[in-house]
């Protein structure tokens, strides 16, 4: 009896410290990566999707709130900022190539940015989705911290936007390569640009694993798309609604 009580004390202590949920995040991701590697990097076995599935299931089972979880996981979340800054490295390595095709890059990213926002909003509207969903999905192809800012400005739910952004990233990482093969785009620069514009950091993470040039262009596209959407979407929004 006493040992059960002390076991419960240990659980209560651990559940209240950030260590438990930080470790849970890392273990879930390790499992996700392991399955992804075992599946020969099949994009359907996206490690983020698997890790999120594991963590959400455990939190729901143990009736743990998201804010308790985030107390631990924030240390991982924080690194998104420095990682975004570090995208300057692959960008610099490919700068000569990037400089050479600047007009083409700008044109394709702006077209991609508008396609990503407008078609998503149009489809949700057409299918009768809720207003919150409609606004929150608009910046779905933009990297999470930026998208949340845009969503807040438009009157959406930033945390819902974060989720839709992640789901978009996973969708793009899964669908992107087969679609590009289907339409016969073999150029690594164009492939990286398309993946980065459609699916931000999650697509970039995948592009970096496949090819250095694709990774650099994907990182560039993610940065420029964040810029383009943050500038264009609020203006367009005011014109449409």
């Amino acid at each position: 009896m006493k040992s059960i009580e002390s076991l419960r004390d240990i659980w209560v202590y651990l559940a209240a410290s950030p260590l438990l949920h930080l470790t849970l995040t890392l273990i879930a991701y390790q499992i996700g990566s392991w399955i992804y590697r075992k599946g020969r990097l099949n994009p359907l076995l996206n490690p983020v999707l698997i890790a999120v599935g594991i963590v959400v299931s455990l939190l729901l089972l143990t009736k743990t709130s998201y804010s308790t979880y985030f107390d631990g996981a924030q240390f991982v979340h924080f690194l998104l900022g420095p990682a975004t800054v570090a995208l300057a490295l692959p960008l610099y390595r490919q700068f000569e190539t990037v400089k050479h095709s600047a007009p083409a890059i700008l044109a394709s990213i702006i077209a991609g940015s508008l396609t990503a926002s407008l078609t998503a909003v149009f489809i949700v509207w057409l299918m009768g989705g809720a207003g919150d969903t409609l606004i929150s999905i608009a910046p779905k192809s933009v990297t999470a911290p930026v998208a949340m800012g845009i969503s807040e400005r438009l009157g959406g739910l930033p945390s819902l936007t974060a989720v839709l952004v992640i789901l978009t990233g996973i969708t793009g990482a899964m669908l992107g390569p087969p679609i590009l093969n289907l339409i016969g785009v073999k150029d690594w620069a164009a492939r990286g640009l398309a993946i980065g514009t459609a699916s931000h950091g999650i697509g970039t993470a995948r592009a970096l694993q496949v090819n250095e040039v694709a990774g650099a262009f994907s990182g560039l596209a993610m940065g420029l798309n964040a810029l383009a959407t943050a500038l264009l979407l609020p203006i367009l929004w005011r014109l449409i609604f």
Partner: protein, 115 residues
């Protein structure tokens, strides 16, 4: 290692300050990326230690999205109602974005190379 991690954080901090001061619609880390890029251009190269730190961060980029992704548990009800519009929007819109971006880049990029 620690020196270059400090550099990266300084770039981010400078980016955040710049955005706060100018009210630019760009997020702080993206401004930080531009600042680091400018620094690399002035330096005319990537120091070895910076490459190590940066590649370590980027090597596990997907991990960093897990905490935000777990936020899905806050919106299970809304997503249960709107699952069809959301799923269709995610698949169709993301596919169209990939096609449009790649097609324009391929067409314009090819034109440049042949000229």
């Amino acid at each position: 290692m620690l020196f270059y991690l400090t550099i990266i954080l300084c770039c981010q901090l400078a980016g955040e300050l710049l955005v706060a001061a100018t009210g630019a619609p760009v997020p702080g880390p993206v401004a930080g990326m531009v600042i680091l890029f400018a620094g690399l251009s002035l330096n005319k190269g990537i120091p070895e230690g910076l490459a190590k730190v940066g590649d370590a961060l980027l090597g596990h980029l997907s991990l960093l999205f897990v905490p935000a992704g777990v936020g899905v548990m806050l919106h299970l009800q809304l997503l249960a109602t709107d699952w069809l519009p959301v799923t269709l929007a995610l698949f169709i819109s993301t596919a169209l974005t990939v096609v449009v971006t790649a097609a324009i880049m391929s067409a314009l990029g090819r034109g440049e190379r042949s000229s």
